[in-house]
C-alpha cells in the first residue's frame, strides 16, 4: 500500500469514528462497526511500531556503528544513574598523582590531592547529563517547531521565523556564549545547558525547513490538505514522521555540540568551577601536567578520553541514523524485515548494481 492511500484511509477512519461518537453518545451503541475500527487501529499501531521503530532499530543494531553508538551512550547513561549509586564519592584517600592502571582501587589513577579519577568522572556524569538533557530539549523544540511551521506555512510566518533563525544563525557561537556566560554567571547545569544551545537550534531549524519544503508538496500531504486536515494535524501525521530520522541525527549533533561547548567553556575557566565535572577536570589537569618532561599525562588523558568517547558514540549513532534515513538502504533492509515495496527493491537492486 502506498503512503498516500494509507494516510487517506486513516484520516477517513478517524473522521468517521468522530462522527459516530457525535451521533450516538449512549453506551449501547448501534454502531457496532466501531470494533472494526479499533482493530484497524491496533493493526495500524503494530504496523507503525514495526516500520517506525522495530525496523529502524534493526538497521541501527545490525550496523556496527549503530550498535557501538547505542552501547556507548547507554554506558554514559548507566554511569550517570546506576554508577553514581554504586561508585563511592571521591575522597582524598589515595596516593597523589598515581598513574593509571597501577592499582585496582584507583584504576584510572588519582589527581594531585589523591582523589580517584574514575570516581570523579562517574560522579560528574549526572550534571553533564542534566546539562545535555535541558539543552537538547530546548534546542530540538525550537528547531523542530520553527523549522516545520515555517516550511509548512510559508508566506509571512515563514519570513518572520526565518529572519529570527538567520539572525541566530549569523551570531558567532562561541563568542556569544562567552559574552552570555561572562555576564550572567550561570551555575545550574540545566541553565548552562539552555544557554549553550542558545543559537544551536537555528541550523536545525533551517535544515528541517528545507526538508519540509520538499515534503509539503508530496502527493499524500497535498491529498490530506485537500481533505481539510488542519496544519497541526498535517504536520503531526504526515510531516513529522518523515522528518524523524533527520531529527534523530540533529539530536546526536546537539548532544555532542552541547557537551563540547560546555567542556570548552569550563576548560577556558569562564564557567564557575566550584563543582567537579569533566570540563573542570580538563582545566585542572591541563594546569597540573608538566610538559617538560612529560609527566602526569594520565590526569589529562582521563577527562580527554571521556569526552572523546562520548563524541564518538554520538557520531556513530548519527551515522547509523543516516543509514536509516537513506531510502536506498532502507529498502534493502525492508526486504528482509517487512517485505517492502517491489518497486523499492528493484530500485535498490539497480543502484546496487550500478555501484559495482
Amino acid at each position: 500500500m502506498s503512503p498516500s492511500e494509507r494516510d487517506i484511509r486513516s484520516d477517513a477512519a478517524s473522521s468517521q469514528q468522530n462522527a459516530g461518537d457525535d451521533a450516538d453518545a449512549s453506551p449501547a451503541s448501534a454502531f457496532s462497526s466501531d470494533a472494526d475500527y479499533s482493530m484497524t487501529r491496533t493493526d495500524e499501531l503494530r504496523e507503525l511500531y514495526d516500520r517506525k521503530f522495530y525496523a529502524p532499530l534493526q538497521i541501527l543494531i545490525k550496523d556496527y556503528r549503530g550498535a557501538l553508538g547505542i552501547s556507548i551512550l547507554l554506558l554514559y547513561i548507566l554511569m550517570g544513574t546506576v554508577g553514581v549509586a554504586v561508585v563511592p564519592i571521591p575522597n582524598q584517600d589515595g596516593p597523589r598523582m598515581l598513574p593509571w592502571f597501577r592499582d585496582l582501587a584507583f584504576p584510572l589513577g588519582t589527581d594531585g590531592t589523591g582523589k580517584s579519577l574514575l570516581r570523579m568522572i562517574v560522579h560528574a556524569t549526572p550534571r553533564m547529563l542534566q546539562m545535555m538533557l535541558a539543552g537538547t530539549i530546548f534546542s530540538l523544540a525550537f528547531s523542530v517547531g520553527i523549522g516545520t511551521l515555517a516550511g509548512f506555512k510559508r508566506g509571512m510566518t515563514d519570513r518572520i521565523l526565518m529572519t529570527v533563525t538567520d539572525t541566530a544563525l549569523n551570531l558567532p557561537g562561541l563568542p556569544l556564549l562567552l559574552v552570555l556566560v561572562a555576564v550572567l554567571q550561570p551555575s545550574n547545569p540545566m541553565v548552562i545547558g539552555i544557554i549553550l544551545s542558545i543559537n544551536g537550534w537555528a541550523g536545525g531549524a533551517r535544515s528541517l525547513r528545507s526538508q519540509v519544503l520538499q515534503l509539503r508538496n508530496a502527493d499524500h500531504v497535498e491529498a490530506s490538505r485537500a481533505m481539510g486536515a488542519s496544519t497541526g494535524r498535517n504536520i503531526q501525521k504526515n510531516v513529522l514522521p518523515e522528518l524523524m530520522p533527520l531529527i534523530m541525527i540533529r539530536l546526536m549533533t546537539t548532544l555532542r555540540s552541547i557537551i563540547f561547548a560546555a567542556v570548552g567553556l569550563y576548560f577556558l575557566g569562564v564557567l564557575p568551577t566550584n563543582d567537579n565535572n569533566w570540563g573542570v577536570m580538563l582545566n585542572r589537569s591541563y594546569q597540573a601536567v608538566d610538559f617538560e618532561p612529560l609527566t602526569n599525562v594520565h590526569y589529562l588523558m582521563v577527562p580527554l578520553l571521556t569526552i572523546s568517547l562520548f563524541g564518538i558514540g554520538t557520531i556513530f549513532l548519527a551515522q547509523a541514523f543516516d543509514r536509516v534515513f537513506n531510502p536506498r538502504l532502507r529498502a534493502k533492509y525492508a526486504k528482509t524485515l517487512s517485505g517492502g515495496d517491489k518497486d523499492d527493491d528493484a530500485d535498490a537492486a539497480a543502484s546496487e548494481a550500478m555501484l559495482e
Binding site: T167, L171, P172, V181, A182, R209, R328
Partner: protein
C-alpha cells in the same frame, strides 16, 4: 523586494540584534553599567566619588552615560560604536578597538589557512571516498574521519601541542613568531609565522567534518542518471570523479564551507588560548576570564561583523557559482 536587498537587510538585522544584545547584557549586570567600575575600584572609593566622575567613567568604559533615559543611552551606544569606539578595556586600560585591531590579521590568517587546507583535503578525500563507496579505502577513511571529527578540536589541539610541540620540539609551543626575528616583510619572518601557525591550523583542519559531508552528498550525486551515462560512455574514472561527481557535489557545500570558516573564526577563542596565540580569540578569552565586559563585548561585535560579512559575500556570490540557484539564498544545504 529584490533578493539582494533582502539579504543585506538580514545582515543589518543581525548586527542590530548583536549590538542590542550587548546593550541589554550590560544592563543585566548585577548593578548595571556601574558594575564595570567595580572591577577597577573598591566599593569605598566609588562611594566617595563625585557622581559626575562616575558618569564620565561609565561613558568611557561602556560608550554611554547611565544617567540618561534608556533610549538616549541606546542611541549613545550606537553613536560610539559607529565611531569605532567600543569602550575601554578594564584589564588593558586601553580603548578596546586599539587592543583588538593589531590582533585581527593573526586570527584571519590562521582561520583562512585552516579553511583552505580543509577544503582541499576534505573535497578530494570526500569525493574519492564516495566514488569508492564500500571499498576498504572508504571504510578505513570514513572510520578515521569519524573518530577525528568526534573529538572536539581543542582536544586535538592539546594533543598536538603535547606530542608535536613539547614531545618532539618540531613546532613552537606558542606565540605568533620567534622573538629573535624582527618583524618585517622578509622570508625568515614569514617562515617563522607559518611555523608558529602550523599547529593551530592543523588542529582546526583535522577536526573538520567536510570530507564526510561531501562523501554523503557525492553518493547521492553518484546515483544520478548522468553519472550512469558517463560510465556507459566508458569515460576514465578520474574524469568521472573530478568532472562529474565533484563539480556537482561541491556546489551545496560552497555555503557550508564558509559557515565552517565562521565556526573556525569563533572557535579561535579556545585554540588561541591553548597555543598562546595572541589573536582576537585570545583577547576574548582574557576578557571573559577577567570579567572585562567591554573587551568581551568588543570582540563579540568583531566576530559578529566578520561572520555577517562572510555569510553575505557567500550568499551574494552563490548564484554565480551555481547558475541553477533560483536566487540569493534559495538553496540551502545542511
Amino acid at each position: 523586494m529584490h533578493p539582494i536587498i533582502g539579504r543585506i537587510q538580514q545582515s543589518l538585522i543581525t548586527l542590530v540584534a548583536a549590538v542590542s544584545l550587548g546593550f541589554v547584557l550590560i544592563h543585566q549586570l548585577p548593578s548595571g553599567p556601574l558594575d564595570i567600575l567595580f572591577g577597577l575600584y573598591d566599593a569605598q572609593t566609588i562611594r566617595n566619588m563625585d557622581p559626575r566622575t562616575i558618569q564620565e567613567l561609565t561613558k568611557q568604559y561602556t560608550g554611554f552615560s547611565s544617567n540618561e533615559p534608556l533610549y538616549i543611552q541606546y542611541l549613545q551606544y550606537w553613536e560610539s560604536l559607529l565611531q569605532l569606539d567600543f569602550g575601554t578595556s578594564v584589564i588593558y586600560q586601553e580603548p578596546v578597538f586599539e587592543v583588538l585591531a593589531p590582533a585581527v590579521p593573526w586570527t584571519v590568517l590562521v582561520s583562512t589557512l585552516a579553511m583552505v587546507l580543509n577544503v582541499t583535503i576534505g573535497v578530494s578525500l570526500g569525493a574519492y571516498m564516495a566514488y569508492r563507496e564500500g571499498s576498504r579505502f572508504d571504510i578505513g577513511a570514513t572510520f578515521v574521519s569519524v573518530i577525528v571529527s568526534a573529538v572536539p578540536y581543542y582536544i586535538v589541539a592539546i594533543l598536538l601541542l603535547i606530542f608535536l610541540g613539547f614531545g618532539t620540539g618540531l613546532f613552537p609551543n606558542g606565540g605568533r613568531y620567534a622573538d629573535s626575528i624582527t618583524p618585517g616583510f622578509r622570508l625568515d619572518f614569514i617562515l617563522s609565522i607559518l611555523h608558529h601557525a602550523a599547529l593551530p591550523v592543523l588542529s582546526l583542519t583535522v577536526t573538520s567534518f567536510a570530507a564526510l559531508g561531501l562523501r554523503a552528498h557525492s553518493i547521492r550525486v553518484l546515483g544520478s542518471d548522468y553519472i550512469r551515462v558517463a560510465r556507459l560512455r566508458g569515460l576514465a574514472e578520474r574524469r568521472i570523479v573530478f568532472h562529474y561527481v565533484l563539480r556537482n557535489s561541491i556546489l551545496p557545500f560552497y555555503t557550508s564551507f564558509v559557515v565552517g570558516l565562521v565556526g573556525l573564526v569563533s572557535g579561535s577563542v579556545i585554540t588561541e588560548k591553548i597555543f598562546q596565540y595572541v589573536g582576537v580569540g585570545w583577547y576574548t578569552f582574557k576578557g571573559a576570564n577577567a570579567g572585562d565586559i567591554p573587551l568581551v563585548l568588543g570582540t563579540f561585535t568583531f566576530f559578529t561583523f566578520a561572520t555577517v560579512i562572510m555569510l553575505l559575500v557567500v550568499d551574494l556570490t552563490y548564484s554565480y557559482v551555481d547558475p541553477r540557484a533560483e536566487g540569493v539564498g534559495a538553496d540551502e544545504s545542511f
